[in-house]
């Protein structure tokens, strides 16, 4: 898995609550059997004026000029600033794949949907929960100042604004460990293969119908 330690990146603000995974990557693109190449269709229905098709060349599609990621000042953004319940809906991991493929390394919001939140960690994409008031502050600062970038430090669990404000965030110890070291968590789990086998043996005795 991709490692995440620290970064300093341009912020793009997506000022909208309950952004669902259908919006992040519409269903027609889920037909791919690969993990890559979803970036050009990230937020497809918001980003383009027409209906996108898989394997289409997106370079000549009409862009929605009002959509934040189409604005010149946010080109090259690697931190997405979002509102509450980001990533709700479908469990499609294509959503973090698309965000990652587009170039985002972190998403900051006051809350995330559970499955999306979990999926991010599997792909080296760091979801950060800050308080409503901290997120409000970031929205007003990013909109007021072109080139606004945030410094994120996973080891320290901090987000630092250009003005020097430091916000701290929580992260599970195991997820942090995997991200910092770029660990494959299947490999980590298989270190406990004996524990899994002995659980299975006990379970087979207690509930044999589950193994019939």
């Amino acid at each position: 898995m991709k490692q995440f330690t620290s970064m300093n990146g341009l912020v793009a603000p997506l000022d909208r609550a309950n952004v669902d995974t259908d919006m992040i990557i519409p269903k027609q693109f889920l037909k791919s059997i690969k993990r890559t190449g979803f970036g050009k269709n990230l937020f497809d229905e918001l980003r383009y004026m027409d209906e996108g098709q898989p394997d289409q060349d997106c370079d000549n599609r009409p862009l929605n000029p009002d959509f934040v990621l189409n604005q010149a000042r946010y080109q090259g953004a690697s931190v997405l600033l979002a509102r509450q319940n980001f990533g709700c809906g479908s469990s499609r991991e294509h959503a973090p794949w698309a965000l990652d493929d587009f170039g985002f390394r972190s998403v900051i919001a006051p809350s995330f949907a559970d499955i999306f939140f979990n999926n991010c960690f599997k792909n080296g994409l760091l979801p950060i929960v800050l308080t409503e008031s901290e997120v409000d502050q970031l929205f007003s600062e990013v909109e007021a100042s072109e080139g606004y970038a945030l410094a994120i430090d996973l080891e320290q669990q901090t987000v630092t604004t250009p003005g020097g404000d430091v916000f701290t965030f929580e992260v599970d110890a195991f997820r942090k460990h995997c991200l910092l070291n770029g660990l494959d968590d299947i490999g980590v789990t298989l270190e406990d293969a004996d524990a899994i086998r002995s659980y299975e043996e006990e379970r087979r005795k207690a509930a044999p119908w589950l193994f019939a």
């Binding site: 889920l30 059997i33 229905e45 479908s90 469990s91 991991e93 659980y199 119908w209 589950l210």
Partner: protein, 473 residues
């Protein structure tokens, strides 16, 4: 010490190991696989040279991409080449790894969340996962079931476990009985309307109370199916005689002595009377009217006799903007009655509402009536080949086609429009599915979530009507 909730019991029974960092390894009894979220997981296994840990814990079927029209030519007949490759890839992966798959032309094929219970592959007390958020459906059986991403599908294939942190316990108690014509769909939409789409984030929701106990297994599956629309990955309902009667005799259910042992063990699959819940919401069943969503999130839902909200009367800025945006997308005016929303299409199907009871309820409403001339299409898509066969045996297909609805082959179909069944831009659809997100049923399409009976009544009227009054007319 306080007693345990059902979720606590399921968790404890499956915890392989608690790790020093506070996470746990949870054993997975059943994984359901479909074509959309599994190819990258199988590819991951191949690249790492790993074999599946326990092949017989997996069961696969294609559902999201499959056409619901003529299937004579099988997979080769799927017109969209990208969809075809995805279904072929599932077939190839299941063959390579030796996983049981109900292929497209198998009568047992259907939507994963319909076939698991139908086959008895979902049993009380199991942990059930699938790369699909509506896996919460299986919680109706007193199972710990939730959706996972593709990396976790691979993790389960390789290790038969998941790394998890325990969720909070939330109880949604629906007191008393619902009135006539009110279904599990109306109950769960009313719950989502009350607690919001993030109301269950971080929680396992247990649905309880008299109205839940009085539901059939089909109704309970509908309720748990939409727990995820309230933000909860897990929805769960305690085991009772209704559960056991449903499971008995199904192909994958235990038989003979094993059945007796299993049933004895399943008696404990309910929350203790003194169990502690972190959050409790109580709802009076008698207050629930037929529900219709008007907006672009399942929480934007109202009883059918209400009017569409007016953003001018909303103080919270983020909420107000959300309502304005939804009204614009949906092409609705503030304060207009929901009954005046004109429909272009009707979809009866999906993992929420495509089981035999759903089809019976819809058929009862359209029997002897005709679909409104103003409608472009009304689709009925059974949840599995076996549901389809049973409906045909009961003559329901004939009731639908006589009324002018189309009778299709099983699959996810227009719920998410990955196959050819979709809405056109700006079209309004009364749908028995689970998500009314922008573009969900087709680019620019406008979805209104309702129960099968409400969808059927709307198909005849051409607009929303209260099915309770409609059936009297």
């Amino acid at each position: 010490m306080a007693g345990k909730t059902l979720y606590d019991k399921l968790w404890d029974a499956h915890e392989v190991k608690r790790r020093a960092d506070g996470s746990s390894l949870i054993y997975i009894d059943r994984q359901l696989l479909h074509e959309v979220t599994s190819p990258q997981a199988f590819e991951g296994l191949r690249l790492a040279g790993r074999a599946p840990w326990r092949i017989d814990a997996n069961l696969a079927t294609p559902d999201h991409n499959v056409p619901t029209t003529d299937r004579k030519e099988g997979v080769a007949g799927i017109e969209d080449p990208v969809s075809r490759i995805q279904v072929q890839t599932l077939d190839e992966n299941c063959e390579e790894f030796g996983i049981t798959e109900f292929k497209m032309l198998d009568q047992r094929q259907g939507i994963v969340h319909v076939i698991g219970p139908e086959q008895g592959a979902t049993l009380p007390g199991m942990t059930v996962v699938c790369g699909d958020s509506h896996t919460s459906t299986h919680g109706a059986f007193g199972a710990l079931a939730h959706g996972i991403g593709t990396s976790e599908v691979e993790h389960v294939l390789a290790t038969q476990t998941l790394v998890q942190k325990k969720m909070k316990n939330m109880l949604v108690k629906v007191n008393g009985s619902v009135g006539p014509g009110i279904t599990g769909k109306d109950i769960v939409l009313a719950v989502i309307g009350r607690i919001g789409t993030a109301g269950g984030n971080g929680c396992a929701i247990e649905f309880a109370g008299q109205a839940i106990e009085e539901l059939s297994m089909e109704g309970r599956m509908t309720v748990c199916n939409m727990a995820i629309e309230a933000g909860a990955r897990v929805g769960v309902i305690g085991v009772d005689q209704t559960t056991i009667d449903y499971v008995k005799g199904r192909p994958y259910a235990p038989k003979g002595d094993l059945w007796d042992k299993a049933v004895a063990a399943w008696q404990d699959l309910k929350s203790d009377p003194d169990a502690h819940f972190d959050k409790v919401v109580e709802i009076n069943a008698a207050d629930i009217a037929p529900q219709v969503t008007w907006g672009t999130s399942p929480e934007m839902v109202l009883p059918v006799h209400e009017t569409v909200p007016n953003p001018e009367r909303i103080d919270d800025a983020v909420k107000k903007e959300g309502v304005e945006r939804a009204l614009q997308y949906m092409g609705l005016k503030a304060d207009m009655p929901i009954s005046e929303i004109k429909l272009d299409r009707v979809f009866i199907g999906s993992c929420t509402n495509s089981r035999i009871e759903d089809l019976r309820q819809a058929a009862q409403v359209v029997k002897g009536r005709k679909v409104a001339a103003s409608l472009k299409q009304a689709l009925v898509v059974p949840g599995s080949g076996l549901v389809k066969a049973q409906a045909e045996q009961e003559g329901l297909d004939k009731v639908f086609t006589d009324a002018g609805l189309e009778w299709r082959e099983p699959g996810c179909s227009m719920c998410l429009a990955m196959n050819a069944d979709k809405l056109g831009q700006g079209e309004h659809c009364a749908s028995t599915s689970n998500r009314n997100f922008e573009g969900r049923q087709g680019f620019g399409g406008r979805t209104h979530l309702v129960s099968p009976a409400m969808a059927a009544a709307a198909a005849v009227a051409g607009h929303f009507v209260d099915v309770r009054e409609f059936v009297k007319s």
